[in-house]
Symmetry: C2
Subunit: 212 residues, 2 copies
Amino acid sequence: MPGKLKKSVSMSVIRRLPRYYRFTGELIEQGIVRISSGELAKRMAVTASQIRQDLNCFGGFGQQGYGYNLVELREEIGKILGVDQSYKTVLIGAGNLGAAIAAGMNFKKYGCELIGVFDSDPNKHGKKVAGFKIQGLEALGEFCKREAPDMAVLCTPKSAVHELADALISYGVKAFWNFGHYDLSLTHKDILVENVHLGDSIMTLTYEIRNN
Amino acid sequence: MPGKLKKSVSMSVIRRLPRYYRFTGELIEQGIVRISSGELAKRMAVTASQIRQDLNCFGGFGQQGYGYNLVELREEIGKILGVDQSYKTVLIGAGNLGAAIAAGMNFKKYGCELIGVFDSDPNKHGKKVAGFKIQGLEALGEFCKREAPDMAVLCTPKSAVHELADALISYGVKAFWNFGHYDLSLTHKDILVENVHLGDSIMTLTYEIRNN
DNA sequence: TAGATTGTTAATCGATTAACAATC
DNA sequence: TAGATTGTTAATCGATTAACAATC
């Protein structure tokens, strides 16, 4: 038996990591150096058990009797999340939302690097967003062959998502940050998809307003 | 015993409802009239059991031997989610993202109605977004007293969220759609919060790129 | 060393899936 | 009626919490 097989970490855990990353950042800003799982739990309104379990999926970052060194802990979580990377990213769909994401999202902070912005609308071509000239979709293939982006941000209407994904996958893109109201992972296998369905999000809020 | 107490529905179920709402809409567009839980399950890549369990939290919308009438089902889910309502909504923070949400989000489709846009930056005051003149925060109190909004969309930097929430709560706002990197629900109780943390979202994607 | 706090195993809880009787 | 499919109960699975021995 050549080394134990690392059991894959559940999505529930992964989705909590960014929150740990944010909180440790804030605590460091406040000048705090070390923290126990109990104290961190209190501040984040979760259980200490959960924090210890979550972190131990990735190794022992703490020290018995002491707790966790915040700078060290944050760095480790950052590495796990990949924010120390620089994944090349293209953004497709420079409408309201797409342009806002391109201009306002600090990609570097999250391990990504925006390298191009595309839109199907010829009227937009050549205009600048976030320092990038908006390019037509006909330029996408060559651009991808040259730059080999890792990730695509999809900010197009849902009708365009399917076809775009086909093309991007054929150009070697494996990861999709999808803002379109379309369930990419149903039709496209062997890719990574993270959906941001703003409509779904606001509906859970209206649900709660109503049922309260 | 005056009627059985309806056990509250779990968040896992609620968060699946918008997806049912989307899929039933698409199926209706395709001209399909009825569907069985088994067939719907296949299309959504979930189990039929889950669909039946989820829907039965709210009552029996189906018919044995027949399945579910799509138009009826969608209407029921819509009512549960509150998309037939018209919750008055103010948006605070007309930066890149805030302006894009104001202009691009079809609030009416989701049971909301945008009634005002606010920003702290005096240079923006008077400019128009989505047909609304951007107002200063000093106008917020009077506006809320007059209009009594139900919901606030927070698109400000995290440093402003806490104070803004204090003010809005004092004006009677109970529900917050929060785009700021700040955990509102930790500091403010008895309000409804739905967070959209785009940073958290993109980090789960970089995690997956890295660990794949 | 004694006290604190982790890493980790065991117990509990909740959510998902399976099964099937009810019924259209 | 017979076949299909729901509504609902029971079984399983996974995630969260509690407990505690290991150890800094």
